[in-house]
Assembly symmetry: C2
Homo-oligomer: 223 residues x 2
């Protein structure tokens, strides 16, 4: 057993569906077909139907999907009908920005704990949270039963912070440090590296993609 797990690509699309459904809901649109949703999200309608069919029969033939029913179900699938406390390590400018985000938006996921190694920051309030000392992280995380962590510390500290979080029970991590984190198999890591993103953009900005430049050019002669 264990087999049939849901493709990662599907899980990554669910939040996009959700975001759009919420917009449709606000516009008072009661029903949407995979065709229309696909047009609006720039996705193939068959893909949308297939994605949703992994989890249940949410649509009605001839009619489409009820927006609020589907919204509720996707929220349930992603476990956004529960409330998740999120721990942040590293409250530099990026960490502060994340606290802000977390404050305003979504209720299901909130940064409730923020830690920093700089003792001068301890006690400061950012968004809604008070910065705690990194030295207390392990203890606090264990007590609060937190499973989701965000790493926004310098690259040099990331692996160690990661291990501390994992040891304290965190099983899902969003990592902003430009490092490949080593984690046990049961831990899920998503990486968000600004530098890498920009670097791949340079390739596309140069137009290197659009030419059929099969000219395999090397910088210098062989070494």
């Amino acid at each position: 057993m264990k087999e049939s797990s849901i493709p990662k690509s599907v899980i990554l699309r669910l939040p996009l569906y959700l975001r759009h459904l919420e917009e449709l809901n606000q516009r008072g649109i009661p029903t949407v077909s995979s065709q229309v949703l696909g047009d609006e999200l720039d996705l193939n309608p068959a893909q949308i139907r297939k994605d949703l069919a992994f989890f249940g029969d949410f649509g009605r033939k001839g009619i489409g999907y009820n927006v609020s029913f589907l919204t509720q179900n996707i929220q349930h699938i992603l476990r956004l009908d529960e409330s998740w406390d999120v721990a942040l390590a590293g409250v530099g400018r990026l960490g502060m920005a994340l606290c802000d985000y977390s404050k305003s938006r979504h209720r299901a996921l909130t940064i409730t704990h923020a830690f920093d190694a700089n003792e001068e920051k301890v006690g400061m309030v950012v968004g809604d949270v008070t910065i705690l000392s990194a030295r207390t992280m392990s203890t606090v995380l264990r007590q609060s039963n937190i499973r989701i962590g965000v790493i926004a510390v310098p690259a040099s500290a990331a692996q160690q912070v990661c291990e501390e979080m994992v040891d304290a029970g965190v099983t899902a991590l969003l990592n902003f440090a430009p490092v490949l984190l080593k984690v046990p198999k049961h831990v899920h890591v998503r990486s968000a590296d600004f530098t890498s993103e920009l670097q791949s953009l340079a390739y596309y900005a140069s137009g290197a993609n659009s030419h059929s430049s099969s000219g395999k050019g090397t910088v210098h002669e062989k070494w």
Copy 2:
């Protein structure tokens, strides 16, 4: 013609290779095999060889890849041997964090222009750049010939800012706003949405993946 373009997945891995090669270089390691690199990056060695082979023959049979030679070549492929000015729209906390990042690291990509709609921020210096008025963006971008843009404005403003950037010649965008940007075909967009990332983490944190819970549960009865 036009056909054989490089898979996106390959372009996204190149920055990771680069990052690791730079580390090897610092450690004074002159040569690396796809086997070792794969171990360290958690990738299949065949995949690494295949990725690199899209662009040239950078290795030596029986020996592996010369670290600095390969570094130079990947830099060239990604056009990081040129210097890219990057424009930032939206200098909230996130935008400021990005300016910081941009200052310290990489020379090839630097945020050289930052714009904000809040006139009170105009003139402020963040990192190395002076904040300019959003009203001047179009003109300034055209003059400076910028091709890479970063969008860190509120969702409600993102599409319009995007269009202004594209009209001014930007062809590659990194979008932090939780919106699907509509762009012409020649423009490349990467999306970095904190909320969506967190939402998919909740799924994994719940352990929903590890059970073969084929129980297609719905929240309520059909509507």
